[in-house]
Symmetry: C2
């Protein structure tokens, strides 16, 4: 690196300290992020789809679900904050961003609506966050699905997506809990951990980008407790949602 | 700078390219930003207030207006995106963030409700974006206020705030238009420019932080047109609102 480039690059560093939260930086350093060598570059007109459960849904309007880039369609969770970031920072790309998360969904329910709510949208980036209900509803909802079914159904969903949308980049978001949340008890961690591990295995085996949300929230809890990041331990606050968006952007782009 | 620091700093630069939009960087470089030497550092428990007109209001819930950090209270404009950024990136500070913008407001209307909607909240940071209606409503609303009154009322408001809240940092956001917007005609630029200049003079004379939004949107229009950043030329889109939030954070912190 010559002297000119040295000063050009170091001049930017002051800015990084402002806009990059230490939490995201700490969580994505090291071995958790699978995508370091495979960063995404948008092409003009790319379609981005966020899929998942209530953490993704976050009050989005069903009436507007065919209108990309609209706040009401995106809800008020990490999908909104990620979309706002992507739109502001890639204005020349004219991205189209959709949220089709539905509260309460488990992976088999994504599969049931995948033609309408994924394939038919012809997305270039498919981001999936699913898993917490696959466990939670066995405790509280009478659901009888197992971790084995979760992983098998998730693999089938990914394989189907790769077959139908061979150009698409798939992002697997790690299912997570925010330790100390009011909806959690001592049995959660050991029971939810296998779902996290399954999601990570799938990302690895299919060479997908992985967003290590459990690491992100574990780091975040060093700064403030669950009441700050997501009081019930499952649904992030505004601060938690923004943190998720920042981690998504850092892991994927 | 020794070799170790060199590598430590340059390692961060890849991140800056992701999270810092070129638009904000370009707009805030040079003479437009008054605050370069006076960056804000939050203290624990600081209260942040966003004040203004519809651009700030953005559908915020009046029912929740006493609940800081809540999405519905913050609306869906730049105040929401700035709040999310501030909360995620300063988690150890336990900030309390309020939006009290009201659609249609001119500066004299801020003054009328300043005790309830500013002073009584005891804010540490007061961010004000006001001016577009002071001009617009002379064209369309039968309003007879002048630029002289705008500047005088704005100076009185700032002086009153400094007297009542001597600890508070005041942020003056530049009133702006997004050229090419559908609500604008050829007479706008020459008529709105004096309002921008007045806001900038006030920021300078009272040594306040100034957010140069006209420069930000002028830069943004090099990447995409008004339909992308704010179709009517006055009210920003989600992308425009996120850009405003990023510029606010960059100018103020």
């Amino acid at each position: 690196m010559n002297r000119r480039n040295f000063f050009k690059k170091t001049a930017l560093t002051g800015v990084a300290a402002i806009s990059l939260p230490e939490i995201v930086s700490a969580a994505l350093t090291g071995t958790n992020s699978i995508s370091e060598t495979d960063k995404l570059r948008f092409s003009s007109g790319d379609i981005v789809l966020f899929q998942g459960d209530s953490i993704t849904d976050c009050g989005r309007s069903r009436d507007d679900e065919n209108e990309p880039n609209k706040q009401s369609q995106l809800g008020y969770g990490y999908a909104l904050f990620a979309a706002a970031n992507l739109l502001a920072n890639n204005a020349d790309k004219k991205l189209k961003i959709y949220n089709r998360g539905i509260s309460g969904n488990k992976v088999f329910q994504l599969a049931e609506r995948w033609m309408k709510d994924c394939i038919n949208l012809r997305p270039n980036i498919v981001s999936i966050l699913i898993g917490v209900n696959d466990y939670w509803h066995t405790k509280t909802g009478g659901y009888t699905g197992t971790i084995v079914e979760y992983e098998a159904d998730y693999r089938t969903l990914v394989a189907r997506t790769q077959k139908e949308l061979p150009w698409a980049k798939i992002v697997v978001c790690e299912p997570f809990i925010i330790h100390g949340g009011t909806a959690l008890d001592d049995t959660w961690e050991s029971n939810i951990a296998p779902y996290r591990e399954a999601a990570k295995r799938i990302a690895h085996d299919y060479k997908l980008t992985f967003v290590p949300y459990q690491s992100v929230f574990n780091e975040a809890l060093k700064k403030a407790d669950a009441t700050y990041w997501g009081a019930d331990g499952v649904h992030p606050s505004m601060a938690g949602a923004q943190l998720m968006a920042q981690a998504w952007v850092k892991a994927v782009l």
